[in-house]
Amino acid sequence: MKARQGDHAAFEELVRVTYVDAYNLAYRLTGDEDDARDVVQDAYLRAFRGLKRFRGEAQFTTWLYRITANCAASSLGKRARHRHDVLEDDEDIVDLSARVDPAEQADRGAVRDRVKAALAELPPRLRAVVVLRDVYDLSHEAIATELGITESAAKVRLHRARRKLRERLYPIPGEDERDARHAV
């Protein structure tokens, strides 16, 4: 690969081809356009500096996703340190079921939009795992490495994220009450 041998033009071409994809991942992880811009610039800078370490076993985009995920995790960590209202894993997702009927909307084929909205409402730590696994198909091992967590923690977060998404998209009447009783 020319870019790995220090060819700036080849690396520029790689950036041109992949930057929209990387930006979208960064945006889905951070949920903020400005943060996504910073994350994606940082990610390409790290990729450029570490290009010699890229062994070419995986696709360049997979490697770039991992770097982007790592940069986004750092960015979210910084953001959390500067805010007092950090979202915790257990924080409840706002229940809009009283205002809209999700089942009806699903029937109208708006599931994708509602999935995006539900994703945006997930706590960042859960969102990161479900986006990397279910949207970008990264392995549990890669996700754990880039987010600085254990593989089992990554699996637990994925499970919780999927459950919250399902509950948000398809609320079952009385399920909350039943869960609350079960928890007691």
Partner: protein, 121 residues
């Protein structure tokens, strides 16, 4: 087996990473509620996967910013390399001059010792 006992397995069943066996499978095969949940998990997963092909266009200027950042970093690296190369040459020159000077002193000292020896003899 109750619905609550298999509830934790269903997200994994939805993506094929978990296979139901024995009493868990027996329960899900006969439980409408669990089957509904499973279908919902699969729908959520399918919707998530479709997001992969949906692109949000970044605001103009991002590509230029990325390339400028990389170019700047590349330039900084080149300048650093140049400076470190010059520094090496500079210190190399000093070392060579010092070595030559020391060698000259040794030669002069040995010559003056020899001439003193001849005068004495």
């Amino acid at each position: 087996m109750q619905c609550e006992d298999v509830a934790n397995l269903l997200p994994g069943v939805g993506d094929g990473s978990v296979t139901l066996r024995g009493s868990a499978r027996w329960h899900v095969d006969r439980c409408l509620r669990c089957q509904t949940e499973l279908v919902q998990y699969r729908k959520v997963l399918r919707s998530l996967r479709t997001l992969r092909t949906e692109f949000l266009e970044p605001a103009p200027g991002l590509l230029a910013d990325i390339l400028a950042t990389i170019a700047e970093s590349g330039e900084r690296h080149a300048v650093r390399q140049l400076l470190s190369g010059r520094r090496a040459a500079y210190f190399g020159g000093i070392a060579a001059a010092t070595a030559a000077g020391a060698a000259g002193v040794v030669v002069l000292a040995s010559m003056s010792r020899r001439s003193r020896f001849r005068v004495a003899s």
